[in-house]
């Protein structure tokens, strides 16, 4: 099955019409960070990479489906997108909402192919989490109460998906909207599994989370991040969601 899917992705990428859009990207300096999950105390190294300054918008995505009709709402294969794919679009070329609001209701397959067609890729979860630690001023703001409160307040605010990109703050790297508008797909979105039974995840045997990090989700950083991991854990690659968009990333070429 795995090989079959891989072959399918390759097929999809082959047929994609390359059209580098003029999206601004920002450089994220690499580094080492301690993620919420994983073996206790084990840090992860993130190589420097480029990341889109804004999430992909409705207008961007319209251009994409026009150039790549297989991703039109009426053409899309159910293997690659479930019924909620572009569910708020009234037809193949008409979206509801602002043209510069982030596109949502897009499956992982579609998001991945979109990025490939721009000569880019989806960010890895570590890259995304690493870039998203930054507030306006510092690369790692996870211990700053106001920063975490901002994220949590967003989680508790309904219907943020229809605000224009760039309407939240510009972070340390010059990237906007990592928090505040929509959740975002990552390449390996559920490699860290929050299983359906979240209390079992704290079991060390399960080896999904380090017990202490999960069970002692006492600080703001943990519980904001937890909600992201939980969200990702609930998704499958063909799912799409009203509150889920994406942006692309790219390796730095030597």
């Amino acid at each position: 099955m795995k090989y079959y899917s891989t072959a399918l992705f390759l097929l999809l990428s082959l047929f994609c019409k390359l059209s580098a859009q003029n999206d601004k990207m920002a450089m994220v300096e690499g580094g080492v960070y301690l993620p919420l999950y994983g073996a206790e105390g084990k840090t992860v190294k993130v190589e420097p990479f480029l990341m889109d300054v804004h999430p992909v918008t409705n207008a961007d995505y319209l251009k994409f489906v026009q150039e790549n009709p297989k991703w039109k709402k009426s053409n899309v294969k159910s293997l690659f997108a479930d019924k909620s794919y572009l569910s708020k679009w009234t037809d193949d070329t008409t979206f509801t909402g602002l043209k510069d609001a982030p596109v949502n209701n897009v499956s992982w397959f579609a998001a991945k192919n979109y990025c490939e067609c721009q000569g880019k890729r989806l960010p890895t979860m570590d890259e995304w989490e690493y870039a998203a630690m930054a507030n306006e001023n510092v690369p790692d703001a996870r211990k700053i109460k106001a920063y975490n409160q901002y994220i949590l307040n967003w989680y508790e605010t309904p219907k943020t998906f229809n605000q224009p990109v760039g309407s939240t703050f510009k972070n340390y790297y010059g990237i906007y909207d990592l928090h505040g508008l929509v959740w975002e797909w990552t390449q390996d979105f559920n490699t860290v599994l929050i299983s359906g039974e979240s209390r079992k995840d704290v079991d060390k045997d399960a080896n999904l989370f380090c017990g202490s990090a999960a069970i002692g989700a006492s600080d703001l950083m943990n519980y904001a991040a937890f909600m992201r991991y939980a969200f990702r854990g609930s998704m499958k690659a063909r799912y799409s969601s009203q509150n889920l968009g994406f942006r692309c990333a790219k390796d730095i070429e030597n």
């Binding site: 979240s198 209390r199 079992k200 006492s218 909600m227 009203q242």
Partner: protein
């Protein structure tokens, strides 16, 4: 007692005969065979479960046979009002806190459809304590926004069970209101009663203190510290008071399905002025008779039954009493009907007694200098609006929604000669409390009002509201007037 039992069996027989007569022409829908193991109870036919919002419960199962019961529950993240002027984003099962009540019987096979509304931000799941299986169903029901999960289980144990969301961070999902009750009736159903209601306590943690206006965010630190700002029945302050009170008539038997969603606090559930004839301890088979207060653990439940003998308003509280009068854990059962002086004669004597508690109670004073800087001149309309909010948050439990008070206990504020006679005295009472006998509109009252820890502006607002409502003399109370009394 003996004659009661006889009477009960007689009634039951009549009901039984009537039911058989009614059903004799239809499909045989009644089970007769007894099964040793509930697993072996066969199901026949499908049925859509009736789901109800609190305080209501679905129709009793009676003697129906076990069925495949389809439960259709939608998760909604939505804004609601914790108390007047205080908004909160609730996460709900079925749009209410607590979630929809599910009623089933032993041997039913439940096909559970859990739907996560597409507008929701978060994944959710459900752990039903009535399930024998991993995670109580949580593992099988983890559902992304815009998706539906279906899982099934057979209910084996009779009792009243809590259900709740168990998605990370679990405590937060519960704290935001994701809990409810599922009742599993025994073979043959529970004994019939006249009135049944659904009540569930929960504790809430907000950034602002109790009553602080605006949209309040969830406060994780307070939740970890178990320092609740609100402890309420059925999701918000006043869900069961005034017009929302539950009702019964003299002579009726009342059954309350009482749950406690927590996340943290256990409940000392009590009905002021009633004794529970029967408590199904922790919602299980053990029945305790003649109980004053029953302890309901977080994530637990109890069924209480009692007969109401006299009319009046009976106050439901968490008898950890500051929660009732200061954090919202207060509901009302209004009983109508004829007085019964054999049971309760009311006041028969009024003499003089100097109580040991005659010292006026006080509460910690505010940091008045800090408060003073924040005082802004408010328009009359604003004072009325904020005053009403403060009244609904602070005063309504005793003085009631329309200022009518509670006879023989708390004096009326509506059309009150005592209030209208002296504004400074009224300010003084709010600031410093009052105990001892007073006469209001010709009736004597002897109770205690505690001093209220309110700012000058709040006192001015609430009194302006009271003076400009319910036929009072329309005094406009200013913060300066309050300050003058405070400094006296």
């Amino acid at each position: 007692m003996k004659s009661n039992i006889k009477k009960f069996f007689f009634t039951k027989m009549l009901v039984g005969i009537a039911a058989i007569a009614m059903l004799s022409s239809c499909v045989n829908d009644q089970s007769s065979k007894k099964y040793k193991d509930a697993v072996d109870i066969p199901v026949n036919q499908e049925m859509i479960a009736e789901l109800t919002s609190p305080p209501f419960v679905p129709t009793p199962v009676g003697k129906r046979m076990a069925k495949k019961l389809i439960v259709d529950l939608e998760i909604q993240e939505r804004e609601g009002e914790m108390t007047s002027g205080v908004k909160y984003i609730y996460w709900t099962f079925g749009g209410t806190v607590p979630g929809s009540f599910i009623r089933t019987r032993v041997g039913d096979e439940i096909e559970f459809h859990l739907k996560n509304h597409p507008d929701n931000k978060l994944p959710h799941n459900i752990d039903l304590h009535a399930v024998n299986g991993p995670g109580g169903g949580a593992e099988s029901s983890f559902v992304a926004p815009g998706h539906e999960k279906v899982f099934s289980f057979k209910v084996l144990n009779p009792g009243l069970y809590v259900y709740h969301c168990a998605t990370a961070p679990v405590g937060m999902h519960i704290a935001n209101g994701m809990y409810g009750l599922i009742l599993v009736e025994p073979e043959g159903g529970l004994e019939p009663v006249d009135k049944e209601y659904y009540i569930m306590q929960g504790d809430f943690y907000t950034e602002g203190k109790y009553g602080e206006r605006g949209l309040q965010a969830f406060d994780m630190q307070k939740a970890i510290d178990e320092n609740a700002d609100y402890v309420v029945f059925n999701g918000h302050v006043g869900a069961m008071t005034g017009d929302n009170a539950i009702t019964a008539n003299v002579g009726e038997t009342v059954r309350l399905f009482v749950g406690n969603g927590g996340p943290n606090l256990v409940s000392s559930f009590h009905v002021i002025g009633e004794i529970f004839d029967k408590v199904y301890v922790e919602g299980g088979d053990l029945v305790n008779d003649n109980v004053q207060t029953t302890l309901i653990p977080a994530g637990g439940a109890a069924i209480v039954e009692f007969k109401v003998e006299v009319p009046g308003t009976f106050i439901l509280v968490d008898h950890s009493i500051f929660r009732a009068f200061n954090k919202g854990a207060l509901g009302m059962l209004k009983v109508g009907g004829e007085e019964n002086e054999k049971v309760f004669a009311g006041e028969i004597h009024d003499g003089i007694y100097l109580p040991e508690g005659s010292v006026i109670q006080s509460m910690p004073s505010l940091d008045r200098n800090k408060e003073k800087e924040e005082v802004k001149a408010l328009s009359f309309e604003e004072k009325m609006k904020f005053g009403k909010d403060k009244y609904m948050a602070t005063c309504v439990a005793c003085h009631q929604g329309n200022g009518q008070g509670i006879p023989n206990a708390f004096p009326p504020l509506a059309n009150s000669d005592y209030l209208n006679a002296d504004v400074d005295r009224a300010i003084d009472i709010v600031l410093h409390g009052l105990s001892g006998e007073i006469t209001v509109n010709g009736k004597k009252y002897n109770s205690v009002m505690t001093a209220q820890a309110l700012s000058d502006q709040d006192v001015a607002n609430v009194l302006t509201y009271v003076y400009n409502s319910w036929g009072n003399n329309k005094t406009d109370v200013t913060p300066e007037m309050v300050e003058a009394v405070r400094n006296k």
